[in-house]
């Protein structure tokens, strides 16, 4: 089942690298199990949406994404949220280190 998320955001050389892990089965139509996968991922920086993604069941189980944001200072708030095809959702917020 869908579970906890983990995230790390690091500022380095004028760029903030965001690495986020989502716990999710991401089951395909080919697996014989009910289709269950994340469809939307949103990344916010200090409350402002910077990345919006639509993804399919082709993304591996327990998805891990890396993103890069311009600038970013220590303490900036990064929030990542997801919504799946069953309407389940989760979010995590962390401060840039």
């Amino acid at each position: 089942m869908a579970g906890p998320m983990k995230m790390r955001a690091t500022a380095q050389g004028g760029t903030t690298e965001v690495r986020v892990l989502m716990t999710h089965p991401m089951t395909t139509a080919q697996s014989g199990q009910p289709l269950h996968f994340i469809q939307n991922v949103t990344v916010k920086q200090n409350g402002k949406t910077v990345i919006e993604a639509e993804i399919s069941q082709a993304v591996s189980r327990n998805p891990v994404f890396s993103f890069r944001l311009k600038g970013g200072a220590k303490g900036d708030k990064i929030e990542v949220s997801w919504v799946d095809n069953k309407g389940e959702s989760n979010a995590i917020e962390t401060a840039v280190a």
């Binding site: 990344v43 639509e54 944001l69």
Partner: protein, 143 residues
């Protein structure tokens, strides 16, 4: 304004917030061939570009987890899409980069078999694309 056009207008008003809530391109993600997936994201006429960098293993032993790192050096890139041409549903994702984000993403995908992976970059109302073949030893779509 006729009654019919007024109704159509009200319908649009009602439909808009719904489409914002469920911003998932069902047509493109439901496409079963790469050309249909590309059509669904408006990228049928993408021009080949060397400014799209795809980093991935040449051979993926496990098709269930294939790491792909993508960055676009096409000036003004606002979105990147990943199409795994031989997957049952080729479109794997579309990432929109707004002000503040760099056109870069790293993700893990499933691949059913050896396939070209096509990356489309959207910039200034145009589409650009590059491909990279990834050989898969054991397919990973059963996951």
């Amino acid at each position: 304004m006729t009654r019919r056009s007024l109704l159509a207008f009200l319908g649009l008003l009602l439909a808009k917030p719904l489409s914002v809530l469920a911003a998932w391109n069902e047509q493109a993600f439901g496409a079963k061939t790469a050309p249909d997936a590309l059509k669904g994201i408006g990228a049928s006429a993408a021009a080949p570009s060397k400014d799209i960098v795809i980093e991935a293993p040449q051979i993926a032993e496990n098709g269930a987890v294939v790491p792909i790192e993508i960055s676009s050096n096409v000036p003004g890139t606002t979105a990147i899409a990943v199409v795994i041409e031989k997957n049952p549903f080729p479109l794997a994702g579309r990432f929109e980069f707004k002000e503040g984000a760099l056109p870069f993403v790293k993700l893990n995908v499933k691949m059913g078999e050896t396939s070209d992976v096509r990356v489309v970059a959207f910039a200034g109302g145009k589409q650009f694309s590059a491909t990279r073949e990834i050989k898969v030893t054991i397919g990973g779509c059963g996951g």
